[in-house]
Point group: D2
Chain length 144, copies 4
């Protein structure tokens, strides 16, 4: 499942080069995840209340173009279950007008309990990310 949101660059997110400071991309990625999970029907705040946490184990960003204060950006996020107990979110950010690339990347998340220990993904989480028990022989790519 894909989910797209629009947002604007805050002044606080710029730096003296006049574009967004590099670490802001990871904060934006988080906003994308939050809205992706809400769109999937299970807000992350609710997930944490159920005792399931998705701490980052890896993050990657490619910086592809400038984005200035107040630019309207479009961010698309897509989540997939990887391996037995990881979630990967792929993200792409472009200028809303014109589509010029800004950044893309991904985050990889462990699935843990409140104390940070890895847990097996609960069935509802696996289901959320589109994983089904080997159902139909003709299933292709499950990731969108």
């Amino acid at each position: 499942m894909d989910h797209t949101i629009l947002f604007r660059v805050r002044y606080s997110e710029t730096d003296q080069m006049g574009t967004f400071y590099n670490s802001r991309a990871l904060e934006w990625f988080e906003c994308g995840r939050t809205e992706l999970l809400r769109a999937m029907g299970l807000p992350y705040a609710e997930m944490e209340r159920r005792g399931v946490f998705l701490p980052l184990v890896e993050a990657h960003v490619e910086y592809r173009g400038r984005a200035r204060y107040d630019d309207l950006l479009k961010m698309t996020s897509r989540g997939t279950l990887v391996g037995k107990a990881r979630v990967r979110i792929d993200v792409e950010i472009v200028q809303a007008e014109g589509g010029a690339p800004v950044a893309r990347g991904y985050t990889v998340h462990a699935i843990t309990g409140p104390a940070g220990k890895p847990i097996r993904p609960p069935p509802w989480l696996a289901q959320l990310f589109g994983v089904k028990r080997p159902p139909s022989p003709l299933r292709g790519e499950a990731s969108s």
Copy 2:
């Protein structure tokens, strides 16, 4: 008690005007408090472990001059107990070289337990901020 630290402006703290973004002052104030409490002999992390928290109830900043990336700044913090259950920290930030003013202000903190409910300051906290039982009739300003 006063405590002074030196620190440098991070690139992440600048904005497109080329000086520090305004909210960074409050993050710096926090660094000042942290080192003030450590110098007083009771690191804030230890205070929280004892179940005493100092959440902000008020913050005030005056912006007095520019500070650019990598500028070396000097911050002086001073804490006082105000009223029955508040701590106030006054802060001043200047350029380390030349002393040009950068920012000054204060934060006011409630004294609470882990759940956020106000508590009476424990004796060690009152003592920390220099409050003594009505000792001498000639006590004036308690703030240093």
Copy 3:
């Protein structure tokens, strides 16, 4: 003129107490100003392109209640011209559901050129904030 926006607390804006970190209030205030100016018809990015800047000279925040990750907040901003060459923005943030208070405060801004030198507010700026030439002899408080 008043302007109200809705926004959610980002995970990056929380701290280990489980509520928003204090400096985020100033970043939110900036989002409120940005949308206030856009609603007034002159986005701040456009204002800077015209060579007019509004750097902060003062900021004040009262922290009035908790706001957690993903809480939907409602922020109302109102701008007034104060004295000859200052803009003051008053801000109030409450929980969107229920209206519980979160924070309120204000920022005071100088009006400067690109190099940071104070300038007299251009007529369009004065007009923007509702200041009229000395029209009636009985004009009192201009601030609402």
Copy 4:
């Protein structure tokens, strides 16, 4: 050349999970680069004054362990010139006491002029990162 610094986790850098928020790693990486370049004899602020900028084109972080408010961390940074016009900085962060891993990763930087256009690295920059003319035929890995 390697360079190591010590720093403490700020309260503003924590999130509601009680450890540092993920994007802070990139802000710390920047502090490491700043001190690496200063130790190499050419502070980045000076480099920008010479018209040479090192904007990020890529960033990668692996999160390896917790770090809490006020934990003392040790960060080691190492820079290398890669390809014709890129600088890569490798970073490792561990707990200062005990050496438990916290994060590691790298950033890749373009070498540009003030307007963001790639330039050939000036000789002093190539020299800074230890690149020598093809000296020995048996040179293997150039990266340390």
